[in-house]
């Protein structure tokens, strides 16, 4: 009985509060100071892209006191609510950092309509960019980050973090002295972080951490040796295929960290120079990895920005990748012909050691990782119909696997490469800064003017600019900076609406990595392992073998893209 009374009191209280809140809400909706009329419109930049957080203020002409004010939404729309008393002359002031402020006077007809309680819709307003101190500072910081990464003075993550910190220091400490020093605030900066990329990379890292300890790579490599019967002309393509397929689903660095040691052992066992085995493998890793959304970090960035699904990557890139891969196999066998001809029969002692290494160490984990991996693949392929974003698929799969195998959670947390995730987050902010101040917009305009309306010229420019620049600069920051440019070209170049330019960027940025030792992280770790066992891969060695490989594979992939999208 007592409980019933308590329930009645509780429900009554809730009801009372709700009615009070509703009353208050109605009161505010029907504010005596407001009119029912609105002014609505959209604000965009010179690329017709919506501009967010533009300050839109309504004034009586000749007065500074705002009658109404608002900020534009993410889609560039604004709504100004009219005051109850509307003066005879009105103007709208529009201002935002890094754009020229403008003032628009309302016509007497518009004012009359507003006075009669009718909403008016203003035509789209285009804001012009303003190049000030913030523009140059953000540009210098971006270049500084690229230089720090390229020269290796700082670790990638520290370089990007330094850039982010400098942007905030200038924005927050510089603003009190001059408004022109403001780039963005913290809230504005984190809007540039693509959380889809962060969670997708994190989910994949957890899955990889389970798979890498099962011994599957060692088993596969030894299996390749056995099925090839020691015939190197067969062994090399099989190992390249294994590396390539693994790279299409795992990150290239992990794939090469696992493949290189066992490959060196196989090479030593059969008496060939290990470089003749591991250099083709790292080429294959960089080429085949590009065929899926999760195969390379650049594809993850491209997929998320351009809204390109796992299936889209498979359908539009895989045939081109197969073509490039075949070319790569032929090139590798020819270029390493002399080394491969030195092969001999492996000694029983070394073979026994190889067989020992080529065992699955955790079959139970492998089985479970296989089941979850297959489920994840199906979700990547069919999840599109459920609007399932890849980050959710990866995160759900990683969690399901952890629940199933119950690993040491500390070990799993350690396996997540936090430095890479922080690198991505900081990089998004640094690239966001040059986007904010208008540098990307200027570059996009210049490229747009150069290529004109020609889709072929634009495709070739994006592929080869990507490939050549990726030889010299890290391809992740390059891709992150290129994405808004490619986004703009996709909207402006006739025929590019198929998102072909995103695929061009994917091909250029990833395959360009084969052009030099510093072109891809996988190259560097492979060289590191090789060097530590007495087979140094110098910059010159890699360039001599890698640059022609890059030219061949990019040419073949370009042919495919041209045929696929233009015929």
């Amino acid at each position: 009985m007592k409980r019933k009374v308590l329930w009645v009191v509780f429900v009554g209280l809730l009801l009372g509060i709700s009615i009070a809140l509703l009353w208050q809400g109605q009161d505010s909706l029907a504010s005596p100071e407001e009119n029912e009329a609105w002014i609505v419109g959209i604000i965009q930049d010179n690329h017709n892209a919506p501009v967010e957080e533009v300050q839109v203020t309504l004034h009586a002409s000749g007065s500074d006191a705002p009658l109404s004010e608002t900020l534009t939404q993410a889609d560039g729309h604004y709504t100004l609510v009219m005051p109850k008393e509307i003066p005879d002359s009105l103007s709208i002031q529009i201002s935002r950092s890094h754009f020229r402020s403008i003032e628009i006077n309302l016509t007497s007809e518009e004012i009359q309509n507003l006075k009669s309680g009718r909403t008016i819709t203003k035509p789209a307003i285009t804001l012009e960019r303003q190049i000030g101190a913030a523009f140059w500072i953000a540009t210098i910081i971006f270049v500084l980050v690229l230089v720090l990464i390229a020269t290796g003075v700082f670790h990638n993550t520290l370089a990007a973090l330094t850039g982010t910190a400098l942007l905030f220091v200038v924005s927050y400490l510089g603003r009190p002295f001059s408004e022109t020093l403001f780039i963005f605030n913290f809230h504005g900066a984190i809007k540039y972080i693509d959380w889809n990329v962060i969670f997708l990379v994190m989910g994949m890292m957890i899955l990889i951490a389970v798979i890498e300890n099962t011994g599957i790579f060692q088993w596969l490599s030894y299996f390749a040796y056995r099925i090839s019967g020691g015939r190197v002309w067969l062994l090399i393509p099989v190992l390249m295929l294994i590396t390539g397929i693994a790279s299409a689903f795992l990150d290239n660095v992990t794939t090469m960290l696992l493949m290189t040691p066992i490959s060196v052992q196989i090479a030593l066992a059969i008496g060939i120079n290990p470089l003749a085995m591991i250099i083709p493998e790292v080429f294959a890793s960089n080429v085949v990895g590009v065929s899926t959304l999760v195969g390379t970090p650049t594809n993850i960035l491209i997929g998320s920005y351009g809204d390109i699904s796992f299936n889209d990557f498979l359908a539009n890139l895989t045939p081109g990748v197969i073509l490039a891969f075949v070319g790569l196999i032929i090139y590798s066998l020819l270029t390493f012909k002399k080394d491969l001809s030195q092969a001999k029969t492996a000694s029983p002692e070394l073979l026994a050691m190889l067989a020992e290494r080529g065992k699955i160490t955790k079959p139970e984990h492998l089985k479970k990782a296989g089941v979850v991996g297959a489920g994840m693949l199906l979700l990547f392929i069919f999840g599109e119909r459920l609007h399932l974003v890849p980050a959710v698929t990866a995160l759900v799969s990683a969690t399901a696997l952890m629940v199933w195998i119950k690993p040491d959670i500390e070990e799993m947390i350690d396996a997540v490469d936090w430095t890479t995730l922080v690198f991505f987050m900081s990089l998004f902010i640094v690239v966001g800064a040059i986007q904010e101040v208008g540098l990307i917009s200027i570059i996009a305009d210049s490229i747009g003017k150069m290529v004109g309306d020609s889709l072929v010229l634009t495709m070739l420019s994006v592929i080869w600019l990507g490939a050549i620049l990726s030889v010299f600069v890290a391809n992740i920051p390059f891709t992150a900076a290129m994405l808004p440019i490619v986004g703009y070209l996709t909207l402006t170049v006739p025929g590019a609406e198929t998102k072909v330019l995103y695929y061009c960027l994917s091909i250029g940025a990833a395959l360009g990595g084969n052009g030099s030792l510093i072109g891809a992280s996988a190259n560097m770790v492979t060289a590191g392992i090789s060097n530590s066992v007495g087979y140094p891969i110098t910059y010159a060695t890699f360039f001599k073998k890698g640059f022609p490989a890059m030219l061949i594979t990019v040419t073949l992939a370009t042919l495919w893209l041209l045929l696929h999208f233009l015929l």
Partner: protein
């Protein structure tokens, strides 16, 4: 204990080092301790947290390299042992030399300028005198050919 410590990292550049160690072992009737040091400095600029995993893989690779060197010595009738260490190459070689009270430490001296690493010419000579200061061993430098380009 006494013997010859021979630091190797595999590859053609280690062959003359191994041969020199065998030559001295036969001359002084000493066993050889082949040392392979797992060093992960090359991971410093890579954004990978796979240090533990790659450390294990390099250890396996080191065992493979040591097995090759051991069998070469044993074929010549010399007793040999393989030792794997993790850490900074110089410190580990000195540590092993002390532990095994080595008479000789054999180090490969590059014949031509290669990339700046621990076994580069200039640093190797400084290291050799450092070994002789800190241990009872005599440091022996052997010329090696680093030309192993594919």
């Amino acid at each position: 204990m006494s013997g010859i410590v021979c630091a190797i990292r595999g590859g053609p550049s280690s062959q003359s080092t191994i041969e020199k160690a065998i030559e001295l072992a036969l001359e002084y009737s000493l066993p050889i301790y082949f040392v392979y040091v797992v060093n992960l400095d090359f991971m410093a600029h890579s954004s990978s947290s796979r240090v533990h995993m790659i450390s294990q893989e390099l250890e396996h690779l080191g065992e493979f390299i040591l097995l090759n060197a051991k069998s070469k010595a044993e074929k010549m009738g010399v007793a040999a042992e393989g030792i794997i260490r993790h850490g900074e190459v110089g410190n580990e070689i000195i540590e092993v030399s002390r532990e095994y009270d080595a008479n000789f430490v054999i180090l490969g001296q590059p014949r031509r300028k290669g990339e700046e690493d621990f076994f580069s010419d200039k640093r190797l000579k400084v290291f050799a005198s450092n070994i002789e200061e800190k241990t009872n061993a005599k440091a022996v430098l052997t010329e090696v050919n680093q030309n192993n380009e594919a």
